[in-house]
């Protein structure tokens, strides 16, 4: 294509070599490129410097409390579902120093140089539809409300997203139930669909932003034919039809909010470890705690923010103890926040159906199964007591 930048919505074809050039083009523009790579027996999101870093020919088998890395019969680069931890690690890091101060003659002063160094500009490669929705949800919580998380805001402002339409659904995926996938619809700079057969390995690439158009214009590509577009559509349609899980969301908010004393909470509490893994892997959970540290000399102090979870006792600790001492109230808080009260707070569900909480629960507790169990025998009582249990 000669001259000018392709308009938003352009669909073009990119070769494997074009993908290599895309990684390089992002690096040249000052981005730290993060994408899928094999580490510790899993496909994790980490630094990607070259095509060979991508998980060529690998896939993941996911089920409740179970994850296995397996070989594919082809060389697909994006032939897996989602990684163990989401992009949230980079945008909303697990541990972040808020400020550091030192003692002065008559008080204290904040150390300007101790504020976290200006973070890299992140380019994410391989962002799934559910993950884009999760990022949009975190934007709403952390930037679009009255209290702005400035670190997150800065990292998002400089963020470049290369999305990937899913070529296969994972065993615990249910984005189709949550209307968050598998097709990427908005919120990306560039979106890829991997097309792979005996003779060819190429990508349909779609432009989603001005920044995306500029990057594409620097890559060798050619126009997508109607056949190419049909092939890409078929990939997404096949994925939509093979979801590992289903969640019936009809009236779910009211259902959960009107069942605070359902016997299922005791049942799940007997299994739940209150280990917090589900909240740590969830791409939309945003809860943190702050820790204050001072050094031995009493000369410097700092405030550090770290991820917390409604499954810890400290999370709901107020004068005299924890508001949620029992696991059943912690689990109920988690699922009710994700699927119900999130809607009251932020206007969307807090769940995008990525399946991570199901896969990475050490005892395989499944949010779709727990919600269905409440639906199967809803309480007849009109009790709405959310109090201490």
């Amino acid at each position: 294509m000669a001259g000018g930048e392709p308009p938003i919505g352009t669909q073009a074809m990119l070769s494997l070599d074009g993908l290599r050039a895309l990684i390089e083009a992002l690096a040249e523009r000052g981005y730290q490129v993060l994408g899928p790579t094999v580490r510790d027996g899993a496909i994790v999101y980490d630094e990607v410097a070259k095509l060979a870093d991508l998980p060529s020919g690998w896939t993941d088998q996911q089920d409740a409390g179970r994850y296995r890395l397996e070989r594919r019969t082809d060389n697909a680069l994006f032939g897996y579902a989602v990684g163990p931890q989401s992009w949230r690690r980079f945008l909303h890091p697990p541990i972040e120093r808020m400020w550091r101060a030192h003692r002065t003659e008559d008080g204290f002063a904040i150390d300007a140089t101790a504020v976290e160094a200006e973070p890299s500009k992140f380019a994410f490669l391989g962002v799934r539809a559910c993950e884009i929705h999760a990022i949009a949800i975190q934007d709403k919580v952390l930037v679009e409300g009255p209290y702005v998380d400035t670190g997150y805001q800065r990292r998002r402002r400089d963020n470049f997203l290369v999305a990937v339409n899913c070529g296969q659904a994972g065993g615990t995926c249910f984005c189709a139930s949550m209307n968050t996938g598998p097709k990427v619809d908005a919120g990306f700079d560039l979106a890829l669909t991997e097309l792979l057969d005996e003779s060819d390995h190429r990508f349909l690439i779609e432009v989603g932003s001005v920044a995306g158009a500029e990057v594409l214009s620097a890559l060798r590509h050619h126009a997508a034919s109607p056949e190419d577009i049909a092939a890409a559509d078929a990939v997404v349609a096949r994925t939509a039809g093979s979801m590992g899980r289903v969640l019936d969301t009809k009236g779910l908010k009211e259902l959960l909010q009107s069942n605070p004393t359902h016997p299922r909470w005791d049942d799940v509490a007997a299994r739940c470890l209150s280990c917090a893994n589900c909240t740590m892997v969830c791409p939309t959970c945003f809860c943190t705690t702050v820790e204050d540290h001072s050094d031995l000399t009493g000369q410097t102090a700092e405030r550090v923010r770290r991820w917390d979870s409604c499954f810890t006792a400290d999370f709901s600790w107020i004068h005299g103890g924890s508001v949620r001492p029992e696991t059943k109230s912690r689990y109920r808080q988690w699922i009710t926040h994700k699927l119900a009260s999130w809607i009251d707070q932020f206007g969307t569900s807090g769940c995008v159906g990525c399946g991570r909480c199901v896969t990475w629960c050490p005892v395989g507790i499944d949010i779709t199964v727990e919600a269905a169990a409440i639906r199967a025998t809803p309480a007849t009582s009109t009790e709405t007591d959310h109090g201490r249990t």
Partner: protein, 258 residues
């Protein structure tokens, strides 16, 4: 600013291996700062000076296994404004609490050539079974930076920033991929944080060195271990290590026979 009196620190040893005290000596970079911030009044492992009490901060290592120690710990408590136990022995009774579930005389006969010289109690008990403890630091051994955090917090008169959540959270903070979900049984979901999730980061299950977390659901975790191929004997043994006498671990070990 007027020169402040430096708080007086004492480090005490009961039945233990010294590993936790050594963690303090191991704080190479910070050791001078510690010595600057406190007066090391009593620390036989490190110094020949053994100054009399009272002490502002006592760090107590080890469990109570003799009648003499059961008395000594009361004296220490009386001389200490703030008493912190360090390590699994002082906090839960340690590995030597295995005697609580057997006949101590048999152990003594098996280990010592002249058992008649050994005077010992039938049980190994944590410091908190004898005196009031102001703060318990878990671990076998304790984590160095947690110890520095406790001392720094004491000096500043603040609460130590030591969470009582699971090892799982530490795995997730450092980005370790869960080994249990990949098929390796792990005690992390019932174990108190503190080590920084070292073992899972080396692709091993957690051994429970830091003892039970608050409200550990050991029964559910044990059921999952069985599904992953562990035997009841494995379960009995993993809950009977450094924190064998911690109540939730004791009960779970008992539930899986011998």
């Amino acid at each position: 600013m007027a020169e402040r009196r430096r708080p007086r620190l004492a480090v005490w040893k009961f039945a233990s291996c010294d590993g936790c005290q050594l963690s303090l000596l191991d704080c190479e970079d910070e050791l001078l700062a510690v010595a600057d911030a406190v007066e090391i009044a009593y620390f036989p492992e490190a110094s020949s000076v053994m100054a009399k009490g009272p002490y502002d901060l006592s760090l107590v290592e080890g469990s109570i296994t003799t009648a003499h120690d059961a008395e000594r710990v009361h004296k220490i408590r009386r001389q200490s404004k703030f008493l912190v136990t360090i390590g699994a022995c002082a906090t839960a009774g340690g590995i030597q609490a295995l005697r609580n579930f057997a006949d101590v005389n048999e152990f003594v006969a098996a280990v010592y050539a002249s058992p008649q010289y050994i005077k010992t109690l039938a049980t190994s008990t944590p410091i908190s079974s004898h005196v009031k403890v102001d703060f318990e630091l878990n671990g076998c051994p304790i984590d160095r930076s947690q110890l520095l955090e406790v001392i720094s917090a004491f000096l500043a008169g603040r609460k130590p920033a030591i969470g009582n959540h699971t090892v799982c959270i530490e795995c997730k903070l450092r980005g370790t991929v869960c080994v249990m979900v990949q098929g390796t049984p792990c005690l992390g979901p019932v174990t108190h944080a503190g080590c920084g999730a070292i073992c899972p980061s080396f692709n091993r299950g957690c051994y429970g060195c830091f003892g039970p977390k608050e409200r550990p659901n050991t029964a559910s975790l044990a059921a999952e271990w069985l599904k992953l191929g562990a035997t009841p004997r494995d379960l009995h043994r993993v809950f009977r290590t450094f924190n064998a006498a911690a109540e939730p671990f004791r009960q779970e070990a008992d539930a899986h026979g011998d």
